[in-house]
Amino acid sequence: MSTPAAASGKPQARADQPKPAGGKEKIAIGDRFRLWWNSLSRPTQWAVGVPFIILLALLPVVRPPGISTVGTDFGGVMAQFGMIALIAIGLNVVVGQTGLLDLGYVGFYAVGAYTVGLLTSPDSPWNQTGDGGWLSAKWAWLAVLPIAVAITAISGLILGTPTLRLRGDYLAIVTLGFGEIVRLLADNLDTLTRGGQGLSQVAYPRLGESDTAMNGVFAAGYSNGGNINNGVWWFWLSLLLIVLVLLGVGNLERSRVGRSWVAIREDEDAAEIMGVPTFRFKLWAFVIGAGIGGLSGALYAGQVQFVVPTNFNVINSMLFLCAVVLGGQGNKLGVILGAFIVVYLPNYFLGRTEFLWWNINGNAIADYKYLFFGLALIVLMIFRPQGLIPVRQKLMTYGRQIWLAARGKRTKFDDNPAGSDKPGSTAAAEVSR
């Protein structure tokens, strides 16, 4: 943490103050964004946040040239972003907040997707949508969604109970194994999952059915004639779920649970000696993370209507982790930005032949995305190890009032000329939020 914090912890001023001479150092854009966001009052945050979400939702409808993708459908890319963003939020609870390195997170994604697939695909022996099944074709996906989340959460419990006694590297190895086991099971249980052939015709929400859209707006191939296709609808659905999940995770963060998670991340022994039931809260983090991963998996299964083991390779786990680390471990908005980068950039270059004033082979760049993400991570670790938007979680429900009360005094201190020759304190305090 020390490099950039130290760099930006030097005397610097807020936007409304003249910079002290000689101490002029750059403050990273992520920090600047966070400072600005935290300085807003709660209603202002809503007033900024809601229009921003609406703008984001309208992005695939407007499809501004230069931002829109050329090689693939932009709506589909945004839908994929929504799902990876959900995953990043879930993985962030485990890795960013609680500090448990989970390399097999794709396993939960697969469990969620396969739960939907097994219960609703006609290819599956457990299909419940046909004759004698207890799922009506119309509501099958929505009904299975909570089941998928519950089963994934239980799988998190089953994995967590024995393995969360391990720490650090050992936990990473075991979770890596879990991810592979889930994929290999899906690949080899031929009678159940049809192995590599996959399960097709998975259910999806049949909403908005009409003469022009026989199977509703979420069906593959739907388009309103303009820019709104099924991908856009899936993006909107995942955006709604993201907002709900963020509210839930935010409530957890600003409570005893979030404090316990961060305490465990910071120093597990000290946390336990301070009365934190560490095992119980680690398990909760695992279960909640798993549930969110399963939710995303269920979305994925519904969108592509097809689940196959190769979609759940270990490399996907790394990609998810990359999104979390890139965006800023522990920061909910940061990891969403990370997910956007991880999904959007390869798709942006796909099919592109020129970028700015260069002629490029966009497909090749997209093919080498893992190479570029690897390089990006190395560069990030050198210059900004805490991620693009680093963490500053608020861990108390009424912490904001305290922070504002304290900040009021701090501002006074800032203006105090006697304090200006010892500027480290305020600047550091400023950045530390």
Binding site: S260, V262, R265, T278, K409, F413, A418, G424, A429
Partner: protein, 332 residues
């Protein structure tokens, strides 16, 4: 209760000697690392803006530990070490150690390096389970309790090398301590139940009160890692007190302190005792131990060689021999 306006004014509102270093020292030479950040005038966060009732010192004292119920009577043994032996493989770290900690006293545990002080301490706080013998605390045998359960049973400790949650603010650190008495789990926090909201208020009330109590209230919203060394030590004590302990164990709290800071720490420890806590103090510094403790237990090579009042210990030949060695002619 001893938490009164005077104390607070001494601790916060003036530049009286405190753990943050007193003025003369701060100005007379290069300040230790981190001390450059101390403002000339202490900046007092207006806690009353958050909770007006915190302006009342009486209320602060009440608020610090509202739920503590101690079965042991004042002056009776709160913790009994009963023939505790601790072996690591062939090494006997503690050999049949028995002593009591009486409720309301400050007990010093001293001994030369390697005498088994920290082992003894870890046995008491549940980090180790004794090989033989048992530890009885407030009428309960600390046999198979987990470490977090021991904390909730009423034993809190600080660490020899500071172990705060660095990325959390001072107040959040203390809030983790208060959470030891809270019961909200995931469902409660998710749906923000009444209990959750009550407990959050309790965390802030008691947290702020404790930070004021140890004298770092104005730094409540600073990250723990940005606090000066002395304030970090104080914060550790506040965090331990937040668990509402019956027994507070301090593991070399004065390590790395200068004399002025040590005397301020002695005042704080006395203040904690006067507030109804029992204190176990492990310390190297003889002057601090002699000055603050009511009774002293001396360990050497895992055995207890003396127990008594500070004055008795000072004159005890065995103790002097343990610390200074025995002259050749006498040992021959």
């Amino acid at each position: 209760m001893t938490y009164d306006r005077e104390m607070r004014e001494e601790g916060l509102d003036s530049n009286a000697p405190g753990l943050t270093g007193d003025d003369d020292e701060a100005n007379s030479g290069p300040a230790p690392s981190g001390y450059g950040q101390i403002p000339d005038e202490p900046v007092d966060v207006d806690v009353t803006a958050v909770d007006p009732s915190l302006a009342d010192p009486e209320h602060v004292a009440e608020v610090v530990a509202p739920q503590r119920e101690i079965r042991t009577a004042e002056g009776a043994p709160l913790m009994r070490m009963e023939h505790v032996t601790m072996k690591f493989g062939g090494l006997v770290a503690l050999d049949d150690v028995s002593f009591d900690i009486k409720r309301g006293e400050i007990l010093g545990l001293i001994g030369p390096n390697g005498a088994g002080k920290t082992t003894c301490f870890n046995t008491m706080t549940g980090v180790y389970r004794p090989t033989e013998g048992q530890v009885v605390f407030d009428g309960r045998v600390l046999g198979k309790l987990k470490r977090n359960e021991i904390t909730r049973a009423g034993i809190a400790r600080t660490f020899q090398n500071i172990r705060l949650f660095n990325e959390m603010t001072a107040l959040e650190n203390v809030a983790v301590g208060t959470d030891a008495r809270h019961k909200t789990s995931v469902p409660g926090a998710l749906f923000r139940t009444t209990r959750h909201r009550d407990e959050e208020r309790d965390a802030i009330d008691r947290g702020m009160a404790l930070l004021e109590f140890v004298g770092i209230g104005e730094r409540a919203t600073e990250k723990a890692k940005n606090l000066p060394y002395g304030d970090q030590r104080r914060l550790e004590i506040a965090r331990a007190l937040a668990t509402e302990p019956k027994l507070l164990c301090l593991d070399e709290p004065a390590a790395g302190f200068n004399p002025a800071e040590k005397s301020a720490l002695m005042d704080l420890i006395r203040k904690i005792r006067d507030d109804g806590y029992t204190v176990l103090l492990i310390e190297h510094d003889m002057r601090l131990v002699m000055g603050v403790t009511d009774r002293i237990v001396v360990l050497e090579f895992g055995r207890m060689i003396a127990e008594g009042l500070p004055d008795e210990i000072r004159d005890n030949e065995q103790v002097i021999a343990a610390y200074l060695g025995v002259p050749d002619d006498e040992s021959a």
